[in-house]
């Protein structure tokens, strides 16, 4: 423990040298969510949830529609304020990160584009605001295989192309943590495999992925950890291998926990 203390103290003085952006310490998870709640009037969307994510893992965030998955992600990304508890990325609230876009990449909706703007201009407007170069825009377009479509209006994109453009935007800042809400919707089988390979290699570089989904078969092939949420409450969390060790499939575990099996 004592070895980590000088680094933690250097982080607190607020002015680390830019070249030495602190990597998450072994003792400090990439994401730490503690007793997080969000209430909208009578509705409790997120109810006292706690979990943390370690670097280098791919975690699946699973639950029925309306379970509170997206709300949790919005709270984590500073788009909404929690009613109670806290959600930290790299030990701080997202809003307090110095260059959040260079540390965290996120896609919350598959269609957050102006239909009459080109894919490339969408990325450029974000890159300008984030202080990133035009070259980086071309790199991420290349990475998601949209280079040829960059000059076309998003209006003409298929759902799969929009998913990839959203991913390109999230990757602009070359982040250490990637948060994706239902990224596989609308992808064809080749696209799904491409995404799986991409996420696994992303995590293999020591980076972290949190991906919400209800495509259980796909999730079972991609993630190493699982969080299951229903009606705002976290029902299970752990290694995929551990949860499914009694020869149960992920689907069995999921339906048993969320009560869907009795339907």
């Amino acid at each position: 423990m004592s070895a980590t203390e000088p680094t933690a103290a250097a982080g607190l003085d607020g002015r680390p040298r830019p070249a030495l952006e602190p990597m998450p310490l072994a003792s400090e998870p990439v994401v730490r969510i503690s007793s997080l709640s969000k209430r909208y009037g009578e509705v409790v969307a997120v109810d006292d949830i706690s979990f943390s994510l370690e670097a280098g893992t791919v975690t699946g965030y699973l639950g029925p529609n309306g379970a509170g998955k997206t709300t949790t992600l919005r709270l984590l990304l500073g788009l909404a304020e929690p009613t109670a508890g806290e959600a930290l990325v790299f030990g701080r609230r997202y809003r307090e990160l110095e260059q959040p876009f260079r540390r965290v990449g996120a896609v919350l909706e598959s269609n957050d584009f102006h239909p009459n703007r080109t894919g490339r201009d969408h990325l450029r407007m974000l890159a300008l605001a984030a202080g990133l170069t035009r070259g980086r825009v071309d790199e991420v377009l290349e990475l998601v295989e949209l280079r040829g479509a960059g000059k076309r209006h998003v209006r003409g994109y298929s759902l799969g192309m929009r998913q990839r453009l959203g991913l390109a935007a999230a990757l602009l800042g070359d982040p250490e943590l990637l948060i994706l809400d239902e990224p596989a919707n609308g992808l064809d089988p080749a696209g799904v495999r491409w995404l799986r390979v991409f996420l696994q290699s992303f995590a293999a570089q020591g980076r972290t992925v949190l991906v919400s989904s209800h495509l259980l078969a796909e999730v079972a092939q991609t993630v190493d950890r699982v969080l299951i949420i229903d009606r705002g409450r976290l029902l299970a969390s752990g290694d995929l291998a551990e949860l499914t060790r009694n020869r149960q499939s992920l689907e069995d575990v999921y339906l048993e926990l969320t009560g869907g099996g009795s339907l």
């Binding site: 919005r74 990304l77 500073g78 788009l79 909404a80 304020e81 997202y94 809003r95 990160l97 959040p100 876009f101 965290v104 996120a106 919350l108 909706e109 269609n111 957050d112 584009f113 102006h114 239909p115 009459n116 703007r117 080109t118 201009d121 969408h122 450029r124 407007m125 974000l126 300008l128 605001a129 984030a130 202080g131 935007a169």
Partner: protein, 243 residues
């Protein structure tokens, strides 16, 4: 901040919305000029103050479309969801609003200038064609251009504030349009002379279309209106959750 400004400028340039707004303004001004200059009686257009009053509609069109451009700068982001990635890049949100206010102000300035140029240009041609003696002085033209542009820039800033407050694009557009061409004149029917204190009325004083208030008071009032709307929109944007 430079990056934020360039980002907002690119947002304006990369869709056709601004151009379409300009064309709509162009159409409205051309229609209004034709109605006024061609149908009003010659004797009705013989004094300088009547001639300036006829230009009211040009100033109002400039202010309204500047306000719409400001409102759409934020409501389009809400409507199409780009507000989410925008706020992920700039989660403190203040710099986004500051850049929107500056860029909308610039767009508004251009809208105001073009509306006045179009209005005065076509009216002058219309006067000449009908043999109406043009009574306007160089000072009048200067005030129309400078005051009209300034009023439109302030309306654009107010539009950003209203848009941030309302968030709904149709609501903001209908609300601003109804205010400019309906609410102010109707209110004048109930309380005569009151409309000159309202945002459109003081804009007309600023542009020299009316002398019912001093220019200094009109400028002060319009700055206050714009600042109030911008502050309210700013406060709401920093406090509210993004869907």
């Amino acid at each position: 901040m430079i990056g934020q400004l360039r980002s907002e400028l690119l947002k304006q340039r990369s869709t056709r919305t601004t151009l379409l707004l300009f064309l709509a303004m162009f159409g409205l001004v051309a229609f209004a000029v034709a109605m006024h200059v061609l149908t009003l009686g010659v004797e009705d257009l013989s004094t300088r103050s009547r001639q300036l009053e006829v230009f009211q509609v040009g100033s109002r069109a400039g202010m309204l479309f500047a306000g719409l451009a400001g409102a759409i700068a934020i409501t389009a982001e809400v409507r199409y969801g780009t507000i989410r990635p925008t706020f992920l890049v700039s989660p403190t949100r203040g710099p986004v609003l500051a850049a929107k206010l500056v860029v909308a102000g610039l767009v508004g300035l251009v809208f105001g200038l073009l509306a006045e140029l179009l209005m005065t240009g076509s009216a002058v041609v219309g006067f000449a064609a009908r043999g109406i003696d043009n009574q306007l002085t160089a000072g009048d033209y200067l005030q129309l251009l400078a005051g009209g542009a300034a009023a439109a820039a302030l309306w654009a800033a107010a539009g950003v504030g209203i848009g941030a407050l309302v968030r709904d694009q149709v609501g903001a557009v209908v609300g601003l349009s109804a205010w400019m061409f309906l609410v102010e004149s109707v209110s004048d029917g109930f309380v005569p002379g009151f409309a000159r204190f309202l945002p459109g009325g003081v804009g007309n004083v600023l542009a020299g279309n009316s002398d019912e208030l001093s220019v200094a008071l009109a400028a002060l009032l319009l700055v206050l209106y714009a600042a109030t709307a911008a502050a309210a929109g700013w406060r709401a944007t920093l406090r509210r959750d993004v869907a």
